[in-house]
């Protein structure tokens, strides 16, 4: 086998009260990636899109991730990667994570799956660190493990897969730019103990609700009184989108990653589509260009074609 094609899915991180730890994988949108062995010990990136992403492997997240894998494996050869990005960079649904994860999962298949999923997340994290400037695995973990994942720790990396019932996500991506530095700078440095307790009580309940398939508890647990109140100001019509989504039947939701995308979770695709219509109804009058996506939460991450 000298060539592998994969679909690397979008992912949602910072799932409400699971800020900086809880994420999940969508079925779509997906980046399409083809990877081949190359004789030279270098990574060659070919971008089939108009996003102007770097092809220098030391500046491209897929390249950096692959170089980490090549170094760990002690390979005497390299890889050529063709990438068709369908997940817009800067959307907040794990665009860079998809590139990094797709590349290392595909390369690992060419190496007869010698690395574990945790090791692949480690390699991808090298790429993600390039993209975000900080070591985090919130999008990488669901992109590689699929389903819902909780990153308990990044040093050492400790990823927990959480059982979950059938769920469908609706995502709206307003085409505005949120600078990661700004999204980060407005976070509180300290939080009242009382609010922290409220948040961890909700997250504990959210994990239990997912594991038990208790939709009512899931809805009640999806509350974030720490990050959402400060970050939502960066997203036009956030409160209206959320209120309309809940009215349309969503259990709850919040900011995806550090935004600008907003996600909502529902029990079925038909409700998720009603939620999509509700989001459009709120956004159409604003004149802000946007995309919407409806997707089940997929139990697989990167998939082989």
């Amino acid at each position: 086998m000298n060539e592998v094609k994969v679909l690397a899915p979008a992912t949602v991180s910072n799932v409400v009260c699971g800020f900086d730890c809880l994420g999940f994988a969508l079925a779509e949108p997906c980046d399409e990636m083809t990877i081949r062995r190359s004789k030279e010990q270098v990574v060659r990136i070919i971008n089939h899109d108009d996003y102007g992403l770097p092809t220098d492997p030391t500046k491209n997240v897929a390249g950096v991730a692959l170089n980490a894998l090549i170094a760990a494996a002690g390979l005497d050869h390299g890889f050529e990667v063709e990438i068709t990005k369908n997940i817009k960079p800067g959307s907040g649904i794990g665009s860079s994570a998809a590139s990094a994860c797709g590349a290392v999962v595909a390369a690992n298949r060419l190496l007869d799956d010698r690395f574990s999923k945790t090791e692949l997340v480690e390699f991808a994290m090298a790429g993600e660190t390039l993209a975000s400037g900080s070591r985090h695995a919130d999008n990488l973990a669901p992109c590689i493990y699929g389903g819902f994942t909780l990153v308990r720790s990044t040093e050492p990396l400790d990823i927990v897969s959480i059982d979950f019932p059938p769920l469908c996500a609706t995502v709206i991506h307003p085409q505005i730019e949120i600078k990661t530095s700004e999204a980060r700078s407005i976070l509180p440095k300290e939080v009242p103990l009382k609010e922290a307790i409220r948040n961890w009580s909700n997250l504990g309940s959210l994990v239990a609700a997912l594991a038990q398939g208790d939709y009512g508890l899931l809805a009640r647990s999806m509350e974030d009184t720490i990050v959402e109140p400060v970050r939502k100001s960066l997203i036009p019509k956030f409160d209206e989108v959320k209120a309309a989504s809940l009215a349309a039947g969503a259990f709850g939701g919040g900011i995806s990653g550090s935004g600008p995308s907003v996600f909502m979770l529902s029990e079925s695709e038909s409700i998720a589509e009603s939620v999509e219509a509700a989001m459009r109804y709120v956004y159409n009058p604003t004149g802000i260009p946007y995309n919407t996506y409806v997707s089940i939460i997929h139990s697989e991450g990167v998939r082989f074609v």
Copy 2:
């Protein structure tokens, strides 16, 4: 039926990273309680122990809890309660919760179980508020539901039962007094967001570990960098007890309630007994009187005799 006898078990709250929300029920020690209908619309308390607890029902947690139940039920009669306390007041393993829960569960049986478990926790919370000065259900929830419980919210009351694998607890109760006011006053008012994230990542993982029966993850998740570091100073030899317990095979543990009891969780009774021996080894030279208990985590709370 005019008389009901119950065993009301000790409970552990503030389970490591589950501060102010996660608790579990032991099989023993238990308070023994007998409750009878009485013709007059009052509560009469008879204490069969030497703790000097009040018999005035407005000053006794069981009395206050029963009065809340009597008012909600609109009863034209009262109850007589005989209490033999085996759980020492002030031990940190839910002594007042046991009195309050035992009383309302027993009274509810005399009323053909007309109230739900959540309602019983509400009544018991009236008693607990008398004892602690604040509305919390961390010990009440496991005392009534059994097993591991997470109190997502007290207003409104939202209690989540968490599945769990076989587990055994070892508890050491050093016979020292910790004033609740002091244990509370040394808590930080604010915590760094980074530490709060670490804590909720651990709690999410702990809930997943319990639900999945993953002992390794359970051990890794039992970390508290917020409350334990400040409260452990109130408990002589806390670090030594913990280190010796881990060396003896415990997964982890921490301060029970607001202390002074310390608990450790293990996979089996034999390991829990080794942990008990390790605790004794640390405490014997101190000259501080202490009790130890070894008990499975019991899936039932208050039990009928």
